[in-house]
Subunit: 1020 residues, 2 copies
Amino acid sequence: MSKMPIYLPQLLFLAIFLFYSVGKECGATPLKNLESRESSKTCGYQACSKPSQNKLNIHLIPHTHDDVGWLKTVDQYYWGGRPLIAKAGVQYILDSVIHELLEDPNRRFIYVETAYLWKWWSYQSDRVKTDVRRLIDEGRLEIISGAWSMNDEAVTHYQSIIDQFTWGFRRLNDTFGSCARPHVGWQIDPFGHSREQASLFAQMGFDGLFFGRLDYQDKRNRMDKKTAEMIWKGSDSLGNKADLFTSVLFNTYSPPPGFCFDILCADEPIIDDPQSPDYNVDRRVAQLLVFAETQQSFYRTNNIIMTMGDDFNYQSAELWYKNLDKLIRYANERHGSTVNVFYSTPSCYLKAVNEQALSWPTKSDDFFPYASDPHTYWSGYYSSRPTIKFYERMGNNYLQVSKQLSALTNISTSETYLNPYREAMGVLQHHDAITGTEKQQVAQDYARILSEAMKGGEQILSDALGSLISTRNQRRSRDGADVHFYTCYQLNISSCPHTEENNNFVLTLYNPQSRVVSTFVRIPVTGNSYVVRDFTGASIVTQIIPIPPEVLAIPGRESSAINELVFRARNVPAFGYQAYYVTKSNKNIERVRNESFTEATIQNEFFNVSITDDGSTCALRTIRSGVTNMRIAQSFHYYESSQGNNEEFENRSSGAYIFRPKNATPKNLTNVGSHQIYTGPLVQEIHMKINEWISQIVRLYTGENYIEYDWLVGPIPVDDKIGKEIITRYSSNLATGNVFYTDSNGREMLRREKNFRPTWALQLAEPVAGNYYPITAKITIKDRINKLRISVLNDRAQGGTSLNEGQVELMLHRRILNDDAFGVGEALNEIAYGKGLVVRGRHQIVTGTNLDRSSSILMEKQMAWNLLNPPCILVSPAGRRTFEEWRNHHRMQGSGLTKQLPPNVRILTLEPWKDGGLLFRLEHMFEIGEDTRYSHPVEINIKDLFLPFTVTNARETTLGGNQWLNESERLRWVSESNEVHRERENVRVVDTGLIDDANEVINVLLHPMEIRTFLIEISI
Amino acid sequence: MSKMPIYLPQLLFLAIFLFYSVGKECGATPLKNLESRESSKTCGYQACSKPSQNKLNIHLIPHTHDDVGWLKTVDQYYWGGRPLIAKAGVQYILDSVIHELLEDPNRRFIYVETAYLWKWWSYQSDRVKTDVRRLIDEGRLEIISGAWSMNDEAVTHYQSIIDQFTWGFRRLNDTFGSCARPHVGWQIDPFGHSREQASLFAQMGFDGLFFGRLDYQDKRNRMDKKTAEMIWKGSDSLGNKADLFTSVLFNTYSPPPGFCFDILCADEPIIDDPQSPDYNVDRRVAQLLVFAETQQSFYRTNNIIMTMGDDFNYQSAELWYKNLDKLIRYANERHGSTVNVFYSTPSCYLKAVNEQALSWPTKSDDFFPYASDPHTYWSGYYSSRPTIKFYERMGNNYLQVSKQLSALTNISTSETYLNPYREAMGVLQHHDAITGTEKQQVAQDYARILSEAMKGGEQILSDALGSLISTRNQRRSRDGADVHFYTCYQLNISSCPHTEENNNFVLTLYNPQSRVVSTFVRIPVTGNSYVVRDFTGASIVTQIIPIPPEVLAIPGRESSAINELVFRARNVPAFGYQAYYVTKSNKNIERVRNESFTEATIQNEFFNVSITDDGSTCALRTIRSGVTNMRIAQSFHYYESSQGNNEEFENRSSGAYIFRPKNATPKNLTNVGSHQIYTGPLVQEIHMKINEWISQIVRLYTGENYIEYDWLVGPIPVDDKIGKEIITRYSSNLATGNVFYTDSNGREMLRREKNFRPTWALQLAEPVAGNYYPITAKITIKDRINKLRISVLNDRAQGGTSLNEGQVELMLHRRILNDDAFGVGEALNEIAYGKGLVVRGRHQIVTGTNLDRSSSILMEKQMAWNLLNPPCILVSPAGRRTFEEWRNHHRMQGSGLTKQLPPNVRILTLEPWKDGGLLFRLEHMFEIGEDTRYSHPVEINIKDLFLPFTVTNARETTLGGNQWLNESERLRWVSESNEVHRERENVRVVDTGLIDDANEVINVLLHPMEIRTFLIEISI
């Protein structure tokens, strides 16, 4: 293991933090009090009923599935608003469930979505709060999963998944104490399941995972072979630590047919009055037992789980409980010698299964794509609503920035604004939010929620940066405080009023990555000439690029910018900022520009990009990688959406969930385009107009070893009444066979093979949709022989695949005229400003090899990181202040870290936590075997890692931050196979207890792919 | 007042009752303990919130309207069964309302239908029972109306209305005590309102009546004139005693539009989170107040009532209360200077209105027919489902018999069987039961309920008669006990297995009338010759009449009878029985029979009936009344039902509720019939076949001054896809103008005038349906000049009218192919045995004069009584026992009364009550001015009225038997008009306190139309 060079601290940064104060006044000892409340210990597994040894144990699980927005907004669902859309009000669910639980100590309930629980909690009286705490303490109300929402697993990023679990856990911990700590994952509704989610769950200390949806063939196969319960191996790198017992629910998450007693259902109640002509106890009990026996025949133990609930069930909980009470009573009365029916929870079921000490099959791949019938592949939502998918990523980045800056500065506003922002991002992770499978009015509300939260984030940024740039020490400087830091949220469409309206302004870049970053800055401007000075006063190289007319014409774009000003920001400090002073110049600089001609080329040190433009069509012909014999072409195509009545399999429509192209071969576009080429010292660009509704910029930055594509798609024309789903296709000369690789939630990579599933013999009736996988961050193809590889990185999640040798395709945008009949009840036909939605996004292509010496993996990881957590650009109007005046009163650069971390390590999380402490996560970015240099353990001393403070104490928790790691003890499961896990290198690990300030070091050892989570105490 | 002759007691009856035992053992003093439970006195008006003097008081009335069967059976509604038909479960309503009331002492609820309350009560724990009693004691749960069901007012008979209220009250009293005594009538849903119901309510001690449905023109008129609240004068004869303050609800019984918060509704909840984008407090409160002000502008006081509930609302009561709580809170917070919004009850509203001491308009007619728009007259249900209407009447008669025999004999089985029977009859009174406006499956269940209850009644009859006929005194005789008394429930279709299968049998007639009755007995037999001996052994005159082939062919009739044996039962004792020994004879008696010929006539002392039969048609030409110059023709016709989509007024269909003929003139039938004439010593009959689906017997009994019609209609053909509604029309030469008279619930008569309403200027777009009125028992026309009158009595309720001079028409049967869109969701197309339903019924026509000397009124009343409470015929197989053997071991005659009552008085009720006491009602049968001889007060000594026991104590109660009369104090109201009520003759009235056994007499004075109710103690 090589020692990494220490990054030189920015010395002038030091003084800033002299007045940084850790909240020690109250004598809080956060590391001793993970939970704010001591709970009794009759909860958890201790509260489980003992199953019968020789009977069929039927675990009835009363539950409600409360989507955090879908057909209605979160708020509408909470209050029960818009009842014409759906009669669903979560306030009533929690009210009435609590009442019913109090009626009878045998009754159980589980609750999942902390977003709702927390909102509800805020309205409760002390009496109700006491009742609820007691119910939780006694295990009668059990919190499972416990995240803010039940996140999607395909299009979410692990950074946000971890965040939203952590925040849900935090609320639960603070409010209810350890008895509210979830023991299992409960992903009953998401449309497919990622291996990374399983890995994260394992790291959170979960003992198991339950879910409802998996490929119908897979399910049939697992039922036949009794492999519906398994040990899911979540990570090759993490080994046992990422293993998770996983149980496929028998009936998704619904009750047995005929046994939905909810007010929203229409099944017969139990009528136990023998005088009633509708008396039905005998018949109903018999029906239940027949179902139970059938179910049991597909599982290995004498325990089965019956999910007694459904979407927004239990608004009138009495209906459920009164009838279940009777069902239980009569079933046991009449068949008690063979069955044992009782209220239970998933954890209790898990415990019962675990106690049987069987050995279990394993699984190492994931559960994508999900198909519910031969023609219904749920791979459309990988790309649905591309703008909300991007907005969520933006939201995440600003949240990370807000957290970091709050932790680094301890500004007073962070509490006010950070929590709503955390909550908003939790909401966005919901499996009908970021997925794009919600109704239009709900999508707009998600955007509103995020937008309002981001305003809070903006306030944090402004306050924190104001504090950081202040040059006066004694008190908070007006110099900093009176500087406004404006965010530019529409840079993706080259719009920013603050850079457009001001002639003198300061750009402050905050870098949320724990490494020094050099990046090209592009800002929309109205002029043709600008002078940019860095913090040293040096005027740096700039370039002006016209904004393409297609971008100028984007509906709703309110900008007078016609150009982008480009410069390179070098070495922006890790967790730090760097400012540039920009002045509009009167000098009219001649743009270097080649007008269109038939064959045109741009090139830099690494690539050569040519296009053909014969006057009627404009196509990207060839990209040649300078260092290899690699050729790549790029082209746009579209699939026509299937349009059917959804009544038979063959009549399924493409829709928000479902991708179902009419033909396996996508249509080519009738190109009517043209192109412009712009070259200069920093960047060379081809601006291509493909047709009336697709255009693209292909870009090569000087010195950068990647090609960048800014694609612009829309409004997709549907005058022909045909829905269309637009793809971009990168075609290379790599011999890839049928194999490609896709990321799992932006973290580990999974091998994919066309027309193939690792665990069953696939029958594929949908050759395109059935090969689509979620591409959250990266898709890679590799040449089988020469180790060449191409990776495409995206700025948001998209569906993607490789259908032909050497090809990668990614779906950019979809406009569909039919609903796919999975409940959303609307066609995915996004309209903005009276037209079909226009979407702009970015791909970056990295080429390279897998050979050790020239591995491009680190670069891919850093580029992906840069797409995920790019430096934020903040604009401060400088007014009449000259550069010198500005520099005299404001710090123009500063870092949060004292040293550079090794390239294979990053700080995943830094945020204020409780009682002045911080939550801190370090992550190893490499998988085992991925790279010879980086796929190794690395040790970091975190004591002096941060410039503004010293870590005085660190205690490790599980991934979710809600349990001390050394107190976490997961259930043990035995694998059927005799496989031997790669054992981790055995090294000392800092994990528990207080370490006093006298210690010189607090070393944290990280193994490949490891994330370690600490609550830390600090002193300045 | 003339003294009536005393009926000679049947001396041999005396001994029977030696062992009659009154339940005195427990020292019960029933007359002191009307309620089994002492209640606190914070209930009732004491519990009302004080309204504000100078604000608009908005009384929010949380309520649920729980139909005792309609779309679902009573049982299905209770349990929530058949949720696909309607998601309605009363068990959940009561459960959840009780919970919500306990949550907040400000909340109120009213409950109405004791059928459900009682069923629910039987399942409750002691804890819940204690809670409910407390809620009632504190007025938070208020019982209003309180009958077993919310009875219909058009087609019900007052005997059954009183019974079902009395039984509801009894359960309430026994269970909850005086705080559960209803103060107001709540008839929110019935489709029109009878004056008799108002009169009965007043006599029950009610202070007011609320209802929802009245003619749309009437409502508009009343709103315009602010006369929607009035003093309804329920009876000309009873004066103030029958006055009832009546309030027309503003919005039927629904909440203001937009304010239905129920789980079954889809209105917006109150969202009071200012952060919510759907925050709506300001808007919602404003909406409510706008509605409230509009409503207030139509009423006279500063109090308005808002009915916050609807059909089967409050299954999840929390939704209602949580939102109403907020509405109240915010409305008062923000507009408290002008409005006062609060939970209230109808009684509290009534009290607030009463305290204003205004004077009120009066009304003396009724609210029939009900029209909801110009083409929608709810006069179809007066005739819908004629068989259930008849079955209910049969049920009532057997119930009265069961009660009387239980009271007279004190058999042990009565408790077991009487209560379910009382309950069943209560259910049948419901406004979607006897009305025929329920779904088919529900109609069948009503029949099942009644049929099972009647089996219990049969057991009572058998046990009681067994006890009565026993000749051994020391112990219950096996002679009586081993005699089976079979009822013949299908005599109306000439079917009775017991008379058909036995060669020797005894017929026992029990006479439930409190007068001696002579009646013609008709029993179905298989033979041609029978010998009938009365209790003296005398063989009496008989006649054999063939059963018409149309009756033999009735689908489902399982009988081998081909003839009816007719004889006259003379002087069957009042409340007594008389037996006849019948022997099948081998003698083949030649039937007196005239074969058909063109003009045929039958006649008796009073009438001459001729028909024309020309071989292709058979029509009833002329009836001549012997004593007058009166001529009557009878004919059948039918209306074609309107068939529309119900979307516009003009497109309303005829249906279960609505009568809407396509044309104002009914269609004539194409007669294809024939006739037979049968004459003999007892009866002369014309058997007429009108066409393939209508036939009729016209009958004159020797010595009887009426004409009897047994009509048989069905299956109504609908092959032409046209619904048909069949009428019979009696056309006379009387000069009646536009005026006719119809009974109100079988009691007082109301004047009707074609195309006219007494209280507003009628606009009539439906000339037929808008002139239809409910004929529960009698319709009368009178000649304007010569005082001649014709009354038609029916055996069940029917719609009827007089559209032309001298005519009466009655609707017999309806078969309709469309729904009328008022919720039942089925066409009224009754199918039995695979064919359209066949119905048989009876009319009796009485002719006479209004002249004092020859008044036919007494006879009409007695005949109506005989149709309502005819002697029951019970069959006991005699086996090999000869008449002498039978007579030696069994009493063949007995009376319950010691004396004959005056002809203008009858015993309305005699039934076992509590602690060995009896409930007893005496009724004056005449209205003031109706008859010079009988319309006068009459006094009865009840002490020695009954043969089996002496009345030792009598204390008068209100009509419903739930409050001592002298403790009843109704609210006082002032009429606007200065009218002076006819004051009752001032006489001593026995009403209160114990009267010791030494008293010789207990005199009860009855004024015209008065009903007096007593709880009596007896000794044998």
